[in-house]
Symmetry: C2
């Protein structure tokens, strides 16, 4: 009987696991939040992932549980584990992706390079940090943020007054130094429960308004030492945090050639979408192989360069599908991926991958093809 | 709303359309013959494709109807068209894939090179053909054959006595000269209803016991002239027969450097499976794009060489999945595709694709990985 992988969450990451699951002969079942979500084709249940009864019933029908997002509460995750359900990544690893303060403390223990940071509970503590860091900092709510939400650059402690006022007893905000980075990078690593890890080449990511806009794989003009350091950071975190499945490590590259860890994600990640068409094993297949503890696939690139451009928002009028003819006739080499989501300003509704032996050509075609959809 | 593609037939060809349909944002619905078939994930109906009521009900829910096989009767196809259903390939084209005598007659009209052939109704007619062709011939039932079934090499007319006796009034068998070929090739072409065609590089196919065993893309050591002739034959047939979607043309290469058409298939075909991992646009995505009349994708190869090896039969004991660990750990670059079918001697249950810049390496890895599954 085919191995059954249960994915909690019905978004585009779950959707993009469907294709490799079908080809590999893994049975994929999705617990979706609602009807008609991105991963609807594989949705065998609809319900609230915070409801232990809903999640238990779903988990009973699969061999391993994994995730489209990191929002399943620890209480639910630990109840599953207590039931004997196989969960990858498990709660011990996921806590570091769910709470940025816990993550910062653990990375410090591991000796992984990261921005200066502190837990702050009031204006005085926050202002003291800012004063010690050239008067600026990045304040983050430790939980629940994504795509720039829950992140604010401040130059005076009062700018975070509302978040400080909303803190529950015993909670704190995370503040980090404002890193003078020259660019952002991302490192993908996969780790299977029995221990093996594989690393993808480090990539350059371009963010706009806190949202990933473009990815270039591998990171252009990256020094060999930098590539090795990024990979080592990725493997150290995957092993140190006990990650199973895909790990994405968002990195800052500074003007003095240091690499600092910005964020983590323990799942396939936007910065790894290029691998669907640009690597021998895409990150969605790799995640599936890892969570069912199969040997990991080759991360070798299929072309010298791969470029991913997000389709953000989608058309102001009409549907994505109406733009297919023009985009495809002009760019027959573009790989168009759509998420089955209605267009809405700023929303990630799809992406375009282009692999090419010429970087300029790949960037041009990926941008030009994606531009047809906005 | 997403374009809805309805596929009649729930086999592995329908299954392998699921992945590109999901990524491209096309809704795929399958009319399967039974529960639990290869394309079960997308099966929205189960029923008999020869039953016009079943097929009509299925067709009512989709924007275009296409096929996993060529066995839907002309009467059903023509009833759909009369209903206003969009059908690709349509009945006028499919008749040439359904009846080899009709195909031979039409290819003769088009001037496409093919083996000598004749329609024969009795022993005398068949013997006369054999006598005129060095005493040998290939007798074929014009309808219903596949994977070597309905094909018999004869050296005396009596060897086809049973088939001749079973002929209905007015029917005939096809007999073809026994071509002294040096190897077999296959040419894939896609054609969209509005007329554009794209061609893949001609590939070499290796048959065992009448079943495709291996494919090498492109065909090694193929003369440039031969590559052009194969492509021209493919385009001539696609246009001359009004094919929409993928067309596969199986070819003989003779020792005097001629190319002769052996068989046709109007759908994705085993000889094109390499393109899933070896071409920018795989044949399953290309078929979908063609049947919904979207611009066709690039057929450029992703690597110098691609090799496909079929998994025939599957393990004598146990399941395919039990062989994954050993196959994957030894061959991380192998792309394993399984069909969700129970192992059975001779049955196509999956295939392995390997793309590599070195042909010997690609052949070795693909064969070695596939060998883990038998």
């Amino acid at each position: 009987m085919a191995l059954r992988v249960g994915v909690i969450g019905g978004g585009q990451l779950a959707r993009m696991m469907i294709a490799p699951a079908v080809e590999l002969g893994l049975e994929i079942r999705v617990l979706a939040e609602d009807e008609g979500m991105s991963a609807g084709l594989a949705a065998t249940a609809v319900g609230d992932y915070r409801d232990i009864d809903v999640v238990r019933a779903f988990a009973a029908g699969v061999d391993v549980v994994t995730f489209d997002h990191e929002h399943v509460p620890q209480s639910v995750l630990r109840a599953l584990v207590a039931d004997g359900v196989v969960v990858h990544p498990g709660p011990d690893a996921l806590q570091f992706a769910q709470d940025k303060l816990v993550m910062r403390a653990r990375l410090a223990e591991l000796g992984v390079p990261q921005p200066d940071w502190a837990a702050v509970r009031d204006v005085a503590e926050l202002q003291a940090f800012l004063d010690a860091h050239a008067g600026a900092g990045v304040v983050k709510t430790p939980r629940g943020g994504y795509d720039g939400k829950g992140v604010r650059v401040v130059r005076a402690a009062e700018e975070a007054q509302d978040w400080l006022d909303a803190l529950a007893e015993g909670d704190a905000l995370l503040v980090e130094e404002l890193v003078p980075f020259v660019r952002e990078l991302a490192q993908q690593v996969a780790r299977r429960p029995s221990g093996d890890t594989v690393a993808y080449p480090v990539v350059e990511t371009v963010q706009r308004d806190g949202v990933c806009a473009e990815v270039i794989a591998p990171a252009p003009a990256a020094a060999e030492r930098l590539v090795q350091v990024a990979e080592e950071i990725g493997r150290t975190i995957a092993e140190g945090l006990g990650v199973t499945g895909m790990l994405a490590v968002e990195l800052f590259e500074t003007d003095d050639e240091r690499i600092l860890v910005n964020e983590l994600a323990m799942r396939p990640h936007n910065s790894g979408h290029w691998s669907q068409d640009g690597a021998v094993t895409g990150q969605f297949e790799q995640h599936l192989r890892a969570v069912v503890d199969l040997p990991l696939g080759s991360t070798a690139p299929r072309a010298a360069w791969s470029v991913m451009v997000n389709i953000l928002g989608g058309p102001a009028e009409g549907t994505l599908e109406e733009r297919f003819p023009a985009a495809m006739v002009e760019h027959p080499q573009a790989k168009i991926h759509t998420y089955g989501k209605a267009p809405r300003p700023g929303r990630k509704v799809g992406h375009v991958n282009v692999a090419d032996d010429d970087l300029d050509d790949a960037v041009y075609v990926a941008r030009a093809a994606a531009a047809h959809f906005v």
